[in-house]
Symmetry: C2
Subunit: 456 residues, 2 copies
């Protein structure tokens, strides 16, 4: 049901394109949707793509262009003149897609393309949309919508709708405005169908409508649409005038990226890179976090260095360094991930920070007691030759308990603090928390060992 691009398919298509066999090309892409065709072009060379594009209808070509990977699209547009871009693509696009496309072009080319747009109204819509930052409600909205005046009767509405809907692909909802274009409410097509012609909009419209202001950032738009199960949301200006609408398909990506961004940060990848991005982009996104780890490792080496003489006497102290460091990292990652997810979903509840710390303390104590108990059991049941070494056994268990205990608290408190001071709490997951807990764990382990070996 879903198209799955394969290498043989791509080869067959490229061959048909190269030999200009139109019938074969059209047969291959007959059942494909624009996003499927975009998948193909993402895998083609620029030359293959340009040749293939000749076989698409104008409308297809515009729809496919929107779905292309950004870098592929950029290369492709660079191969076209401004006039071609305006005529072949912009004229067939919704205002929001056209604005997104133009926003990515160099200023000069952008202005050139705009000057070539035939439809004055569309050009003015696009110029309007280009004024809004990309990551706000204004930057996401489309100007195409269907609206009626609150003072009209149903008959006038239906006639007006017949006119307006020719330009709007999916209607979803009809907006109700007053004579100053201030949003008053909504009315569904269904309701219009069911109501007698002579009734007034005023009597049947629904005045409970959720709208977003044009300067609201896209993540909050996503949260609102998700929370209130909205398929489309109207965008208004400061005094409530209707500017446009955002549909769910534009916001699903925002919601998903939001969820993925936290994962990416937790994995120590600082920029929004994809696996398919080139080596250099990937390196740039990954190296900074490795340097954080490197710094952490150097600090740990300094801490252990101060216990050099003890290691010489009790080399077994070195055996459990990876265990202590790893467990601190694991616990920290777990707690911080739960807090960050809770913050993102607004599901942390109303209880204060002390309640959260108390909960983490109880979880830490449980996990800590289980793990330190098990490692004690291991050290007692499987001693090295020379019998049970109580000093190291007890040192490891106490250090492990302490590390699990404190790592959980750090993992809870640090993201909460960052959030309080408006820093992205996801920064506190991944390499940052792992490194901190590595250092702290190493210090604790050797300090406890130092004390205990003096006793035994």
């Amino acid at each position: 049901m879903q198209f799955e691009l394969t290498k043989p398919f791509l080869d067959e298509l490229n061959l048909a394109v190269e030999s200009k066999n139109e019938a074969a090309v059209l047969a291959l892409i007959e059942h494909l949707r624009p996003v499927d065709i975009a998948e193909i072009i993402n895998e083609q060379s620029l030359k293959e793509a340009i040749a293939f594009y000749q076989f698409l209808t104008e409308e297809q070509a515009a729809d496919v262009l929107i779905e292309l990977d950004e870098d592929v699209r950029e290369r492709f547009l660079n191969s076209l003149s401004s006039k071609q871009i305006a005529k072949q693509f912009i004229d067939n696009m919704d205002s929001d897609d056209a604005a997104d496309l133009l926003a990515k072009l160099p200023v000069e080319k952008k202005n050139e393309v705009i000057s070539h747009i035939q439809d004055i109204e569309q050009a003015s819509d696009i110029i309007d949309l280009l004024n809004y930052p990309e990551d706000t409600a204004g930057g996401l909205m489309a100007k195409e919508l269907v609206k009626v005046d609150i003072n009209w009767d149903i008959k006038t509405c239906i006639n007006e709708l017949r006119r307006q809907t020719q330009e709007v692909e999916n209607v979803y909802t009809v907006y109700v405005v007053d004579d100053r274009n201030v949003l008053q409410g909504i009315i569904s097509l269904k309701r219009l169908l069911l109501t007698p012609d002579n009734k007034k909009v005023r009597d049947i419209y629904n005045d409970k409508v959720i709208a977003v202001k044009a300067d609201l950032n896209d993540e909050e738009v996503g949260q609102i649409m998700e929370k209130y199960d909205l398929v489309v949301v109207p965008v208004i200006d400061e005094i409530g005038r209707l500017l446009g609408r955002i549909t769910i398909d534009d916001i699903v990506d925002v919601i998903k990226e939001e969820a993925e961004k936290d994962y990416q940060l937790a994995s120590g990848i600082s920029e929004n890179v994809e696996y398919s991005d080139n080596m250099w982009l990937q390196t740039r996104a990954r190296l900074p976090w490795l340097l954080v780890g490197l710094m952490g490792g150097i600090i740990s080496s300094k801490i252990i260095g101060t216990y050099e003489s003890q290691i010489q006497i009790n080399p077994e102290m070195a055996f459990f360094i990876p265990l202590i460091a790893a467990m601190g990292g694991n616990v920290g990652v777990q707690s911080s991930a739960l807090v960050v997810k809770g913050l993102a979903n607004k599901s942390l509840g109303l209880n204060g920070i002390w309640h959260k710390i108390l909960k983490e303390i109880l979880i830490g104590l449980t996990n800590g007691l289980v793990c330190s108990g098990l490692i004690l059991l291991y050290n007692v049941l499987f001693p090295d030759t020379g019998g049970i070494n109580w000093a190291i056994s007890i040192t490891v268990s106490i250090a492990l308990l302490s590390v699990i205990f404190f790592a959980g608290i750090f993992g809870t408190v640090i993201p909460l603090m960052l959030h309080k001071y408006k820093v992205d709490p996801a920064l506190a997951t991944g390499p940052f928390i792992t490194t901190t807990n590595d250092i702290f764990g190493t210090f604790l382990y050797f300090y406890i060992g130092h004390l205990l070996y003096a006793v035994f």
Copy 2:
């Protein structure tokens, strides 16, 4: 614009509810939507919630119930009789919500509730839906939809729609079926509005419709709706008969959970727990991964143990254990996260596994050379008292380069292999890859040290 629940608001509401001050309660919740009211109830005690529920209208009560946290809803329903559940809630719900609700009840209570449903048609829809597993298209769909016969004319359609739409809250799309109820295509309300009465459906409907089979799993439904920007998708049986439809609001949660699930696994949390879940659930989700780390730590301790005598002679070998272990873990997490995300987004491209490994080798070499160069510089510029220790300096640098190199390859190959053998590749992120790389890194470091110290 968005409701934000605060402690003072909750206290005020509880006070008004307790003192049975209806005017005050209704004023407080006047502008709230069902999901907002659900947020309030999630924070109330059962007694407060039951008292508060008396103030809601029947329709509100049903809408709020669907939005409640699962455990809160369960407690709440347990306090009601089967008859009350059927009359107060099920009768006011869409079939899919009603079925979801009933699916969570104990079998006996479920059957009791069904026997109390007044509307026979709704009862039969619900029984039907309960047959589909929860995580399939059939389990997600609602039975309420609007459909027309392909042989009708537009006038008949509109009359029929007037009848059908009374039961369907949001129409979105009108489905076109033949006389055996086999899905033929769709027609938009807008199109119906624009077409003269005497035309036939057959002449104007759109036969390019994406449908999903009832047994398709929910994640794939989500991928299809996301990829093709669908707001609603029809569900069909094996021979193409129209069974129901899935709307985007039911699938946004699936798409989001899918993105979050990978993050959760990468953070070493095995079940779908939330921060707000109780201590016991959290411990159960976290402890297993800690035990994986514990096992890894024990294995590392065995490896280091075999080099005991060397540590006694060269205690500085111990200093850099955390560095090597941490860097292996960090690199592994980075690579595996990128591969897992690429697999989830189907954006890995068509190139084979060797191409992927080659790319990771190049990234690993770059990052590895930078990091090992820096640590060499550090060890040379800031030697311990006694001058530059070339043996340890070169050991650390070579080990670091090797660990970064191999950790990247493991992080790439292991999730790809798991995916190939139909195991969730996200299992290879987080504690699993960290632990493996800890062990491997420790081994490599001491082995290289052992060889090099013999040379210097």
